[in-house]
Symmetry: C2
Subunit: 345 residues, 2 copies
Amino acid sequence: VPAGDDPPPSRLTARALGELGLIAGIRRRWGAAGPGVALGIGDDAAVVAPAGQSVLLTTDTLVEDVHFRRATTGFADLGAKALAVNVSDIAAMGGEPRWALLALVLPGDTAAADVEAFLDGVGEEARRDGVAVVGGDTCASPDRIVVTVTLVGTVLGAPLTRAGARPGDAILVTGTLGASAAGLATLDAPDLPAPPDAVAAVRRAHWRPTPRGAEGRAIRAAGVATAMIDLSDGLAKDLGHVAAESGVGATVELGALPVDRATTAVARAAGADPLIWAVGGGEDYELLFTAPAPEADRLAARVTAATGTPVTRIGRIEPAGAGVRYRDAAGRPRTLPPGFQHFVS
Amino acid sequence: VPAGDDPPPSRLTARALGELGLIAGIRRRWGAAGPGVALGIGDDAAVVAPAGQSVLLTTDTLVEDVHFRRATTGFADLGAKALAVNVSDIAAMGGEPRWALLALVLPGDTAAADVEAFLDGVGEEARRDGVAVVGGDTCASPDRIVVTVTLVGTVLGAPLTRAGARPGDAILVTGTLGASAAGLATLDAPDLPAPPDAVAAVRRAHWRPTPRGAEGRAIRAAGVATAMIDLSDGLAKDLGHVAAESGVGATVELGALPVDRATTAVARAAGADPLIWAVGGGEDYELLFTAPAPEADRLAARVTAATGTPVTRIGRIEPAGAGVRYRDAAGRPRTLPPGFQHFVS
């Protein structure tokens, strides 16, 4: 773009902004230091002070045409989700999300307004979760958008891992399951004859997952939970992780799975089984946790009282070797497909 | 791949390994906890203990066809470089690199042997720098490889930033400049009539940069340096960052720039000016730092004595408003192109 010949704002692109323009914009937003930030954006590395706490580290990448499609994803939602999926990982340790790094790979023809919307989305989610964006990297992409967020959290004392579940423990989940998969199904089949409010609700669940930070901290603080994980790849796969790390098996009561009304309505319109979405769909970003059976109901009530989020008991931990099994409402065993796995077509 | 019909190792791909197979391989390498690692790969987040030190955070992404081409980059070199460029950022603060997260976006048809070589390269560099790989993310790519490494470092006391340079300070650099750009030039023009040992040397500089960790810590430990940055985007752009952050200008004596024999030989064969590579080429991953002029020579000698790496005085910091200027060996002003900037074609 020659000097004195600026394109109208609506046509301004990442290429026209340039890397320095893009970084300057990011710095204007997040350059001021937040709590515990000694040095934010603008140097070789950010400097933070965890003040004696343990430091939690997690990173997640969203790739265009793998995790999202540009035609059906708003940039603000994409920004919020890129951070939210990482907040969910810190939540699953019972930690406090604190400082984020944003590595942004963008095609040069991305509209500057879309970049702004993306950063707005990141900022909105960051405010909601108490996170400071302290650094990152930006570079040009030949075609697809790739967003990698790294999130640093803190925790005082031992975090809650995937490894502590014991046979006899109850399995519990926050919120409801399957709504994100239902949302994706409505995007794949836009003419689905489902009630518009149900479609809007499940799409929102897909586009703007709500990480369960307060719930994760309440679960850990109660002191009785034995293991925790966030449901990003689906109940089947993520419960499988808990089973593998804890050296146990699990039984899930399908009749107990919490599925909301919008998901049920969309499933009916699609001729789909909402339980398949609840077990294998993924991207719900709810927390799954385990606790000794006698403590489970009290723990659930305590978490709901502290956060307003429903908690449901969905099964029990079994001895090693049992694998993850499902039973229908009549107590009969049922086989279900595994959750999403990358590189498997 | 059906069971009992494994492809020969040479044809095994990321898709055949699957996400879980890939993660299992990564975990076999780096699953054991290192110093300060309370919990490594395999949970929602890694847990590390910085033990009262400040925490440095940096992230860098390498994108296929932007930062490297598959035809001219070995997978082991790519892995080593993905970590090395981050170690360089921690070095530029005077910190200790400690814990790394590896976010790997890979096409499904990437050969498993190439994935192994990549991880070998990461591991080799990690051992060299004393870094533990504690987590990450893997996902399928529709086509291009994208690697994002996030590195966490520690520093006791205040790190050395870009912001402290004062008018009159000397400007110094470690090692030599322009070799990486010379290496890239030999890849772009494979038939260049340059001596084979010179070609091999500059390609090695391009493929396997050596981050200056020990040098960065020695520079900071001496207590007299006023600012520091690593040279990733080229002297012109990176010195520009120091000038902007410190609110100063700078004069660079082109005749003083350290350029090695191999780079000079390749430049002669290419009919190129090695100073252009030294100033604008980027990816040298040397350190540029500033110190009060009376202390500069002693500081340089001290760093060389501690690390074996030559240090060269290349100019001085000027008052604000002067910008970054260049003078040739005869003292005449000279204009040079700026360094690499993303999104500018």
